[in-house]
Amino acid sequence: MYGNDFPAPDDASGGGLLGEVEAAEAALREAAARARRFGAPTPDADLDAYFADVIEADQKIEPRDWMPEAYRRTLIRQIAQHAHSEIIGMQPEGNWISRAPSLKRKAILLAKVQDEAGHGLYLYAAAETLGISRDELVDLLLSGRQKYSSIFNYPTLTWADVGVIGWLVDGAAIVNQVPLCRCSYGPYARAMIRVCKEESFHQRQGYEILHVLAHGTAEQKAMAQDAVDRWWYPSLAMFGPPDGDSTHSAQSMAWKIKRFSNDELRQRFVDMCVQQAEVLGLTLPDEDLRWNDERGAYDYTQPDYDELMQVIKGNGPCNRQRMEHRRRAHTDGAWVREAAAAYAAKREQQKEKVAA
């Protein structure tokens, strides 16, 4: 829907998360239609109050608007971390491209990994609108000064892991990201709409892989169950620390960068997964998982947040491997960037000669 100004009727997904993405897209257009009453602030206006008014009215902040420095910094940090996650996230899956069980699965996995690169690029472009350069962002990742999602520091041991990454990891990412389609910063919101639409293909392909395995031989089903057992808690940890310990939440909520708390999103994810696991015929590895009538939600066991902090600090099973791989890929790719730059420079020179 990127160039269109209305969703085609046959794209309607009939509710669910994809429906929420489309609703967010419609809200973005509605807000834009209401935007006329917001001219630029007059020279003597209180910029902080003006910014607060725009946010309050659910209008989008755009790149050249005035914004508080802390808002800019928060967005750069969040969008960059998100972009880095997409780029590093290619590694655990890329591990299985050459070993996918069929040509069909291989083609699908290639397309998915290519999407992750694309998502990284949309997000880098969104971060760059805030006044930081691509080279700086790449450097921040390579030097370890900016992080990526800790989930990608876990290994993909079997083919079933590729299925679970699609179902649980991409599923958790979507639950996290769908509200970001309504983020107050225009370029981020627009990038997230694109990302979420493509992520829903990722989630479904993972779910399908698991469904096939879970209905295959006993060994295949056991492999699927083992992957779910290993990935369930790290996936729950993707939503971040519990609300009480979350450092950035309150301000981000006030700025409408974030719309729901970590714990709200985690609960939403658990409630979705229970029924999906039943359809798969697989068990979520939590003996205390049960419906709570009073809360209208499932009670569940919290992930190990100490483990999360350890992984964030660099002590996860694959942190070093992921960073080494990324640095090596960057260094090994230097000759391509150099050759392209030399070619562009040569062409530019030739053009100048012709012009002279």
Binding site: G3, E62, D135, V138, R337, E338, A342, A344
Partner: protein
């Protein structure tokens, strides 16, 4: 990036060699896509590429993996001149007091059709 700069500097002074700096030669391009026949090109995002040809190919891979377009424009971001949001009111002021440019300004007499 320091690593790239070092490499570039190593080449300085070599006869006939131009210093190659990636940053300098990978400018930002804005991408516009025509989604279907009958629609105008719409801005979809931006990307880096050393030249126009690669910008076009990258735009295809980044922004039209799912047949989102039938035509792509790439424009060097540096070539775009934009009005400044700071002077938005003054800049667009001339339109503010000319409501008579809209058809709704006019009263249509009872019974007049096809207006």
């Amino acid at each position: 990036m320091s690593e790239r700069t070092e490499r570039g500097e190593g080449r300085e002074g070599m006869p006939g060699q131009h210093r190659v700096s990636t940053e300098q030669h990978t400018p930002l391009w804005e991408v516009f896509v025509r989604a279907r026949r009958g629609l105008s090109h719409t801005h979809v995002g931006s990307l880096h590429a050393p030249d126009a040809e690669l910008a076009l190919r990258n735009a295809r891979d980044v922004y039209t993996r799912r047949q989102e377009g039938v035509s792509i424009w790439v424009v060097p971001a540096a070539a775009i001149t934009a009005s400044s949001p700071d002077e938005k009111d003054a800049f667009f002021d001339p339109a503010a007091d000319k409501v008579y440019r809209h058809p709704t300004f006019y009263e249509v007499p009872e019974g007049a059709g096809h207006l």
